[in-house]
Amino acid sequence: MRYLTACLLGTALAITAINPASAASKTVTIVLSEEPDVIDPCESTRSNVGRIVKQNIAETLIEIDPANGNIRPRLATSWKQTDKLTWQFELRKGVKFHDGADFDAAAAVKSINRTLNPTQDCEIRLKFFGNIKVSPKAIGSHTLEVKTDTTQPILPALMSVMAIASPNTQPLKGTRNPVGTGPYKFKSWNPGQDVVIERFDGYWGEKPQADGARYIWRSESAVRAAMVKADEADIAPNIALQDATDKTLDFSYFNSETSRLRIDMEQAPLNDIRVRKALNYAVDLEALRGSIFSKGVMPMTNIVVPSINGHNPSLKPWPYDVKKAKALLAEAKADGVKVDTEILMRGRLGMYPNATEAMEAIHAMLSEAGFNVKLKMVEVASWVDSYTRPFAADRGPVLQQGQHDNNSGDAVFSVFFKYACKGPQSTTCDKQVDDGITAASAATGDERRNLWQEVMRRLHQDIVPDVQMFHMVGFSRINKRLDFTPSISMNSEMQISQVKFK
């Protein structure tokens, strides 16, 4: 009995020793959905790397204002285009890297070259600079010149993804010890356990309130949400709709994602615009909103969300009208279009919360309108194989579930890839759209916005390459002790310097 009492007492003491809440601590605990593979600044466009590294450890020359999508200075104080192929950036003076190295034009050149080096598989190069040859050069101690092989009117916006690493960062291989100029410096990475960053006292900007941050990871959304509720974590940036049940802790925000079904326009009967319009008329978005999708989602009209340059606000969502859908199908059938052909709906398991249920509901709606549709949900690997070029010649008509993320400020990052004749994920080819993309990509200011909006109009009204769904919302759970509101940029970064304590 004495042993039993001792055991119970020991267990009770061990439990009491748990330190769940860190109410007095000024270190922010963030629970991510997965451990990062590397924490290299050149990979900071990957969500779980960016949330640790971008603007916390390594800063960019220019950053995007999440409120309006405009660009603003960060490590560069000003910039100008000196000719069609050249941009010049004036860099901030008196900035030091965490390892003591000076931030100057030579350091910026070295970091950009490292990111764009083809021997390394940096995501920033692969995602944003695959088609552009960039030559950076220091033309003064703090003046950086960047030449490109094609006109890049939005090069400053592109530089908002280029996180600058110390010139002492190991070349040719991803680093696990990132060094930048940001308000926080890397402290430790305990594999499988946590990543810790701490405040950098030599930071050039305003001193942030938080002493540091600890990043941990749990795959299950319910566990992440529970951790904030139990005061074990301060921020869970990405929780599922069904776990966002506490109005005092949960925030919803447009997360820059847009969901759709890509219509394979190269395959009959989807090559007939009446069939494509009928698909859109047949889907009752209002029935999906507030049931399978959050009430906060917005029906999609453009591939980019409203805060992105090029979004056309005059476009209206497709109304739900089954009669019209049936009439269009009947009309197409009368003209010899084989509308009875089986159409494959290919969805991706876990693409977003309730992705399978959404596809099942749409499948039922399309069937009711008279389409012969078959639903197939696949794993990510199989989905990617069929989503990107080269497409299988014998693929048949397919509606492919997709979700696109653009919080980079401009429609150029979306439209070419999704709708150009040579776009890697495009099953659409229209000369007018291609010409529009070329013209908009080369333009600036109001002209650029107008040209993108015209491309969006043509896609929406004359081409109809998608079954349009929603601009999505994300949910974050924030501990009551923090004064922090999530924004559209949460998908790619989370600036700890903006976290305040109540």
Binding site: I15, E34, D37, G130, E379, A381
Partner: protein, 305 residues
Amino acid sequence: MHKYLTKRAFHSFISLAGLLVLVFFLTRLTGDPGNLFLPIDATLEARQEFTVKHGFDQPIYVQFGRYVVDLAQGDLGDSIRKQRPAIDIVLEAIPVTLMLAAVAMSIALVGSIVVGSMAAYRPGGIFDRVASISSLVSASAPDFWVAITAILVFSVTLQWLPTSGMGGPATWIMPICILVIRPFGLLVQVVRGSMITVLSSAYIKTARAKGVKEHAVIFVHALRNAMLPIITVAGDQAAGIANGAVIVETIFGWPGIGKLMIDSIIQRDFAVVQASILVTAIVILSINIVVDITYAILDPRIRHK
């Protein structure tokens, strides 16, 4: 015994070699890792460049030849994603799973022997009925649901235990309890069945007639003979946990081999898949050898054969 062990080790080596060949070719059938590693917007040229750089453009037999040569030199390759040697990643993960497996199986084995034996002592009695029903429930409990419910009750509502994470003693309680539930339920059933058979044997009646004390009859005379099926099932359950306590590792954030293996398969990180399977297979083959040795210790007839 030496001869037996050598023979067993040789058989294990053959199984291991066959498994590695199979895994190598099966992983290659899943498709191009570049399609998952590279961003969806990567150009076709970038995809081709990636494939060439990592040797995935080579004929499968060339890739296999290179793998065998590297393996012979102790090189299991680098993880494409983590850009580190795959074996380092696996060796960080396997101790976590082995610790979980060792603690959970010890508790399950001892607990089930006690409960199962007591239930078998009076078949049909109240204790037997309670033990049988609870072990059935326990053996069929969906551990995912139990784990999430336990977090909501003990961490969020009562705030007695941490929700997840690996650290002090308190962080062990829920993961271990969840891991124990199923093997415990299953083993109670096996122990009970086996003990009921043995307790009705003639030699037990003789022992009782000779005045041997009841606890000695049950835990010394009967249990030893009842142990063979228990060891078989326990070995199987232990191998299952060593193969990755995926649910527990995923929900409670324990960085073990099960989650690592699933993630690497989903991400087509071939080097990590192969290294994980190699190390896990060695562990499982070792468990099987230990089970065989235990058989021989418990039953002299097996030893003499």
